[in-house]
């Protein structure tokens, strides 16, 4: 299969987007961009879930209380796992992480093998297997 065909197959296998606003510096525009994205998703009529993981500022959860849930997912791996498991099947999931959270996020992503799971999403066959295995995933409210 060519690289282009690989990419096409990968794109068709994607059923939802997890969008992470993360970078280890404050006041860089993370929440502004997240707010712009929320404005567009609302305007475009696209179903989405947003999590404001920036417990210090909580700009998004204050401005969009009906659309954004506040939850600090960057304290412990348990919190991160609770957030991931509670995410519903929406086409777009947006998480605004706090500044200085990159190291924690990457260690959590490594712990939960998230990069490997994402790669599985690139292959339709693996993705289908992954979906089948997901039925045991327990959902809890944040």
């Amino acid at each position: 299969m060519t690289k282009e065909a690989d990419l096409t197959a990968a794109k068709t296998s994607i059923t939802r987007r997890f969008i992470a606003c993360t970078q280890s510096t404050g006041r860089i525009g993370k929440s502004t961009v997240a707010e712009g994205l929320i404005s567009w998703l609302r305007y475009a009529g696209v179903a989405f879930v947003a999590v404001d993981a920036d417990s210090q500022h909580q700009t998004l959860s204050h401005r969009y209380p009906s659309d954004v849930e506040s939850f600090d997912a960057t304290k412990t791996l348990d919190d991160f796992a609770r957030m991931i498991q509670a995410l519903p099947d929406f086409p777009v999931i947006l998480v605004d992480f706090p500044a200085q959270a990159t190291n924690f996020l990457l260690s959590a992503a490594e712990h939960f093998r998230i990069a490997r799971i994402l790669r599985a999403f690139r292959d339709p066959a693996d993705f289908a297997n992954f979906r089948r295995g997901r039925s045991n995933c327990q959902r809890i409210r944040l």
Binding site: R27, Y43, T102, A109, L118
Partner: protein, 152 residues
């Protein structure tokens, strides 16, 4: 993953770590916020070349003056409630210039995210309401001999 272009070494290091970790397992969107970086140093890093090789899309955050941001936050305090961007654009409690500036910010986000729908959504067909775009008026051809305002 949203990668924010920045001069700040911590931000650059964070972006680099994130991209090294996820590699091709994630899609990236490069966010340029001119208010937050003043030099082209970030654009000269190998990270940018790596993103460019993958045709990473860019999103440019429109500049908004501190006066407008402060006025928005001051109005929130005055009203004792938070104002979403959509609502702030129409608040008569804000000076007209501030409203226009916030309206421009919102409109630029709407247009850019719609243009980047294939990166933001799993399927662009999910869009139910498209952004109305202004069409540029074609400039009239200058013809002094047939100018209706000059023909006697």
């Amino acid at each position: 993953m949203l990668i924010f272009a920045a001069d700040d070494p911590t931000a650059k290091e964070s972006a680099s770590k994130t991209v090294r970790f996820f590699g091709d397992a994630a899609d990236y969107l490069l966010v340029e916020n001119p208010a937050k970086y003043k030099s082209e140093e970030f654009m000269r890093t190998p990270l940018i070349s790596w993103l460019a090789e993958r045709e990473t899309a860019k999103l440019r955050v429109p500049a908004v003056t501190a006066i407008t941001i402060n006025a928005w936050e001051a109005l929130e305090r005055k009203l004792n409630r938070y104002l979403p961007l959509d609502e702030a654009c129409h608040q008569t409690g804000l000076h007209e210039l501030c409203r226009h500036e916030l309206g421009f910010l919102r409109d630029r986000f709407l247009v850019q995210f719609e243009d980047l729908a294939d990166r933001v959504l799993a399927n662009p067909a999910l869009i139910k309401n498209k952004v109305a775009r202004l069409t540029e008026r074609k400039a009239d051809v200058q013809d002094a001999l047939n100018d209706p305002f000059l023909i006697a």
